[in-house]
Each structure stands twice: as C-alpha cells, then as structure tokens.
C-alpha cells in the first residue's frame, strides 16, 4: 500500500494524499521528515489553521500536477483569478 498523509484545512476538512505528492512542499517535507519529533512526522497528519478548504484542495491538485510535470507531462495548471491571492500566500507558506 502506498504511504499517505492527511492534510486538514481551517474548516476541518481532511485531504488524504500520497506522501510523495505532499513532499512537493518544502514545508510539509520538513515537518514529515524532521527527526526532532514533530507530531506530524509520527502520525502523518498536518493541520493548517490558516488555509481554507478551497485553497487546500487547490494546493493538493497542484502537488499532483507538479509531480506529473516533473515526469514530463507538460500540461497547464489553471488557477481561477479569484484564488490567486490566497493561493499565493499558502504557496509562500508551504514553499511550493
């Protein structure tokens, strides 16, 4: 079975995605891999009290798109203009 992680949004929605996809974000990567005993690295659950469900969903989509892109599938990632500001801030926080 593939390893998964759970990302929880501001409103409490849970997104279960491949660990590999979540690792696209440098921030999540360091949370999951740091040996210092972040609770995240044990349970594989990360909560984002500042990121709304809509944005977190988009972020997860981006993770998968980014994996595909790096494997040579060059499609475009569409972002609705109204999401750009919030998504930008989340991306900035997640280093992705």
């Amino acid at each position: 079975m593939r390893e998964t992680v759970k990302l929880i949004s501001m409103e409490g929605f849970e997104f279960v995605i491949d660990r590999e996809a979540a690792m696209v974000s440098q921030t999540i990567r360091s949370m999951l891999t740091s040996p210092g005993g972040f609770s995240e690295s044990k349970d594989g659950v990360v909560t984002f009290p500042d990121i709304s469900t809509t944005i977190l969903e988009k972020i997860c989509q981006y993770f998968y798109w980014s994996l595909q892109y790096s494997r040579g599938k060059e499609t475009e990632f569409y972002i609705e203009p109204e999401l750009t500001l919030e998504l930008m801030m989340a991306a900035n926080y997640l280093h992705t």
Partner: protein
C-alpha cells in the same frame, strides 16, 4: 530580489494576466491587507510590467507594499503620487527618470513616515522646493537626487536629515560651503558629488565624515585625494591629480576600489600615487596618461583591472602577471598589447574570468594561449583585433591553414564572446557552432552570409545573438531556426533584409527582440531593468525603455503595439489622416517624450559618463 516558489510565480502570472483577472481579485480587501510584503511588492511589480497598474488600483496595496520601483515610468504623475502618499509601510521608493515628477507631485511623500530610501535621480523638475517636502521625512536613510534641479540652497537643507547614510548629489552644484554644512550628517557612509563645484579647500572637510566608505569626486577640480580613514571606494574620474600628502598615506589602507578613468597625473604623482594601495581589489586607470605600470606589482589583491586606452604594452605585461593569481577581470582593450604579451600573461592568471583584448594587435595564436592557459574564462572580447580565424601552418604542406577558433572549445565556461571584426568570414567562424555553452555572441562583419546564421542556430543556450553588417538575405532569415533560448537578435546593418522579412520574423518569433533599422521597438520585453544604477549603458537602455512606455493611458481604442503614429502609417496615409475626425482620438501630447528630449537625454549621459 527574492526568488518566488513555482506556485507563487504561477499565481502572480495568473493574477496579472489581463485587466479582467485583476478585477476578479481586486475587491478581496482582507486578503490584500494580509499579503506578506515581498508578495505584495512582487504583485505590484508584475502589474506594472504587464501595464495593468493604474492610480486607483494602487489603493489596494497601501497596507502591504514596502518597495516600489517606478524607474523610468513616464506615466507617474500627481494622481499616482496622491495614492502613494497613503502607503503606510512604504520603505523604498524609486522615482528615478520619471519625467513628470516635480515639486508639487512630491508633496504626498511628506506623510510617509516609514520611508527610508528615495531615488529621484534625473527628475529634472525637482528643485529646492521639493527638498523642503523631503525635510519632514525624518527617517530617510538613502537619498539619490543626482541631476535634478536642486541648487546650493536646497542642498544645505539636507543637513537636517540626520539619519542619512547615503547621499547622491551627482551633477549638482555642490559648493565647499555645502560640504561643511552637511558635516552634521555623521552617519554618512556614501557620498557622491561628481561634477560639483567642490575644490581642494572643501574636500578637506570630507575628512570630518567619520563613517565615510564611498566617495565620488569625479569631474571636480579636486586635485588632491583626501585621506579619509575608512574609505573603501574612491572615484576620481577625469580629475587632475597633482599632489599627495605623503605623510598620511597609511590612512588609505582600507581602500578596495579605486576608479580613476580619464584622470590626469603629474610626473611626480604618477610615481607616488599608488604606493600603499596594496589593499585595492578593483582598479580602473583606463584612458589615463600613465606610462609606468610598475606600481601594479604591489597590488597583490587585485581582482578587477581596467587598463584600456592607456600606453600599456607588452613590456608592462610582466607587472600584471606578478599579481595575476587573484585577477578575475582584465580589460586591456585599445592598448599596445600583442600576442607576445598574451603569451607572457597566460599561465599567470589562473582565475581570470573576463578578458577584453578588443582593438589590439593580438592575432590567432593568442587564441591558443587563452584557450589552453586561462581555464576559467567566461567572457571574452576579441573584436577589432588581427584575428583572422586561421593559423598559417609553417610546415611543408604550405598554404594549408588551420581554423583557430576551434581551440575555444576547451574553455568550458565560455558564455560570452565578442568577435566583431570586419574581415572574419563564414569559414573562419564555422567552429563557433561547437561552442555549446555560449549564451551571448556578437559578430559584425561584412563577409558573413546566411551560412553563419544557420550554423549558429545549433547553439542550444544562446540568449542574445548579434550578426551585424552581414550580407543576410530575407530568405535566409526566413529559414533561420533560432535556438529556443534566444531573446535578442541584433541584425543592425544587414542591408539586404527587407521590411517584410523583419516583420515576418518578429511575427513568427514574438518573444525575440529584433534590432534592425526596420524593426519596431517592442514593449513587452524589458531586459534592461536589472542594470545597476548609474552605469553608462543604463542611460541608453532607459531611453529605449522610455520610448516603449509612451502608451497612452487614456485611449484604449488605439492599438497598443503602435506607439508612434509615424510608425503605424506611412507619410501619405498620415497626411490623409490629418483631417479625419478620428485624429482627435489620438493621445494627448503630454503622454509623449519627444524625440529631441530623448536625444538630449542620451547626449547628456554620454557627456557625463
């Protein structure tokens, strides 16, 4: 500038795709207020670059933006500045070369309490009254007002800005009296007073700035280099250096950068000036009358050395070789150096990265010395030399010659190469196609044909290519497959190319900026932005940028790609248009920078720099 992460970049592009996309986020006030400053700055920068910024849109950024760079924007006027006045957290504002900035448009700045950096360079309408507005910006730390209309009285007012650590007064009539009143600015580290009226008498006062590390006295009548204790950088271009206080020479031990281009030395200063300057890493003595270069021996830390247009020749090369271990940039263009000199030099400059030998007598053999003995070279200028591209074999197989440029292949880091030279032929240049690392290549020869152009399309990393004065044909240009990375193609002087051929190429490759007598200025590419302040090229880049900025904000009905109506229509059509009612739709005169103004501008820069 901070590098954005990939998704941030995608968001920025999407947010600034069109005026419509802007409308879809501009009312998200809460998000806009929460934007971290570096993201807000980046968004503003993108909007400006995409020509989507207008005064009332500035309002949404007033809580978040910290840095604004409006360099060279001709649209910035009182309306824009009124909004800028509300930017509570603004710390840096660059208005240099904004032609519509004047004293009254500066008034809103008085409310910017967090402002630390302000650049008004070359805003010629700013005068002493404008400086009065600045006096209330007490936290100002860096101020550039070079080439403005400020006079002696206005300069004295600056003494009240006690936090100033950088002050650029270049080209202003700074007097000795001014300098003594500015001594109140004890935090000053950087003082630029090129072209001022300061004399030796006033220059003594410079010693009273305890923290000064940068001083520019170029184009002044100062004849004596002041021995400021912690000075790291001294510019005295075009000064006459007459006397030296030998007693204080130890003081200049911290000096790292010494720029004396075009300076005149008297017989005795030539010997003494450079003693005790062993800490210098950057030395520019180009265009000077220096005859004896023995002083170089003592400058063991030199990294950058400019000896261009001097009496430097093969007999002085040994002095450079002595200090070659640390040398990274060397400019000996327009000197008497020959291949023999290059031979002496090779092997002594292991770290050399940039080498200019243009306008010298070096020949093809020097290419061999360079390629075998200078492994780190990444930029090489061999224009206007005796290089022919072939080395005549001395052996019995007479008349057989070997292409010399192929040797450059061993320079693995070579990225920039200039070979502008009238006698170089297609054959001589054919080895260039194997230099796959090249990013910038410039050629200029009347002997070149389509062959060279096509040959070079195999260079995978080429960003800019110049093939000037060549006999390129329209069909040749049509068949040319530019490398994907290419952004600039300089075809000036290629007289056989037709207007249609150039236009066709531009249409097929819109991301490539073409320079040719028939090419129009494209406005989308702005590669000149990153040039450092007050470099000579900047002034030219600036004028061309300004031309492209003449987009009228008012009349969206007029196509944006046609800036100057004389480009859009030919003469007859223009005459016919004169009486048509639609001519009233054309932009108002105020939006244009007239051609004479641009010319005058560049002439001024040429004279000064």
């Amino acid at each position: 500038m901070e590098k954005e992460s990939p998704l941030v970049r995608l968001c920025l592009e999407e947010a600034c795709k069109s005026g419509e996309s802007v409308e879809r986020w501009r009312l998200q006030r809460r998000s806009l207020e929460r934007l971290p400053p570096h993201l807000a700055d980046a968004l503003l920068r993108h909007l400006l670059a995409r020509r989507l910024l207008f005064p009332s849109l500035l309002e949404v950024f007033k809580h978040s933006v910290e840095k604004i760079d409006f360099r060279g924007e001709s649209s910035i006027n009182a309306e824009w500045m009124a909004y800028i006045g509300g930017f509570l957290n603004l710390s840096s504002l660059n208005l240099s070369d904004c032609p519509r900035i004047n004293n009254s448009t500066l008034w809103p700045i008085t409310g910017l309490t967090s402002l630390k950096e302000l650049d008004l360079s070359r805003c010629s309408k700013v005068t002493d009254a404008g400086i009065k507005h600045l006096q209330s910006v007490a936290n100002l730390e860096k101020l550039w007002i070079s080439q403005t209309g400020v006079t002696e009285a206005g300069i004295s007012l600056l003494a009240s800005l006690r936090n100033l650590c950088l002050l650029d007064l270049g080209g202003l009539p700074v007097t000795d009296h001014n300098l003594s009143s500015l001594q109140a600015l004890t935090k000053l580290e950087y003082l630029d007073i090129w072209g001022s009226n300061v004399t030796n008498q006033g220059a003594v006062g410079i010693l009273k700035f305890p923290n000064l590390s940068f001083l520019n006295l170029s184009w002044t009548s100062v004849t004596q280099a002041p021995n400021v204790p912690h000075l790291e950088c001294l510019h005295m271009n075009k000064c006459t250096l007459l006397s030296i206080e030998i007693t204080h020479t130890s003081a200049s031990a911290s000096l790292k950068k010494l720029v004396l281009s075009g300076a005149t030395f008297s017989a005795e200063t030539e010997t003494f000036f450079f003693t005790n300057k062993s800490s210098v890493t950057y030395l520019d003595v180009s265009k000077t009358s220096l005859q004896n270069f023995a002083f170089l021996e003592t400058m063991t830390k030199l990294e950058h050395l400019d000896l261009s247009s001097t009496a430097f020749g093969d007999d002085s090369v040994e002095f450079v070789a002595c200090v070659g271990d640390t040398l990274r940039n060397l400019n000996v263009s327009d000197t008497k150096i020959t291949t023999a000199g290059v031979e002496i030099l090779s092997g002594h400059v292991p770290k050399l990265e940039t080498l200019s030998l243009s306008q010298t007598f070096v020949d093809d053999l020097s290419i061999l010395y360079i390629s075998t003995m200078m492994p780190c070279i990444n930029a090489l200028d061999l224009s206007m030399t005796s290089i022919r591209g072939f080395i005549q074999q001395q052996e019995e197989e007479s008349k057989k010659s070997k292409p010399s440029l192929a040797a450059l292949q061993s320079l693995t880091s070579l990225g920039t190469l200039s070979l502008e030279h009238p006698y170089l032929s297609d054959n001589a240049l054919s080895p260039l196609s194997s230099l796959t690392g090249l990013t910038h290549l410039s050629l200029r020869s009347t002997s070149l044909t389509d062959f060279t152009l096509h040959n070079l399309s195999s260079l995978p990393n080429l960003v800019s290519l110049g093939v000037r004065d060549a006999v390129l044909t329209s069909i040749g240009l049509e068949k040319f497959k530019p490398p994907l990375t290419l952004r600039t193609l300089d075809l000036r002087g290629c007289w056989l190319l037709t207007k249609d051929a150039i236009a066709g190429f531009c249409k097929r490759h819109p991301h490539i900026k073409v320079r040719h007598e028939f090419a129009q200025e494209s406005s989308s590419l702005d590669q000149n932005r990153l040039l450092p302040r007050s470099s000579p090229q900047q002034s030219f880049a600036k004028t061309s940028r300004r031309k492209s900025n003449q987009r009228p904000e008012t009349s969206a009905a007029v196509s944006r790609s046609f800036i100057d109506q004389r480009v859009k229509y030919n003469r007859d059509e223009l005459v016919a248009l004169q009486d048509s009612p639609s001519s009233r739709l054309l932009p108002r005169e105020g939006n244009f920078v007239s051609v004479p103004e641009i010319l005058a501008d560049s002439v001024i820069h040429m004279v000064i720099q």
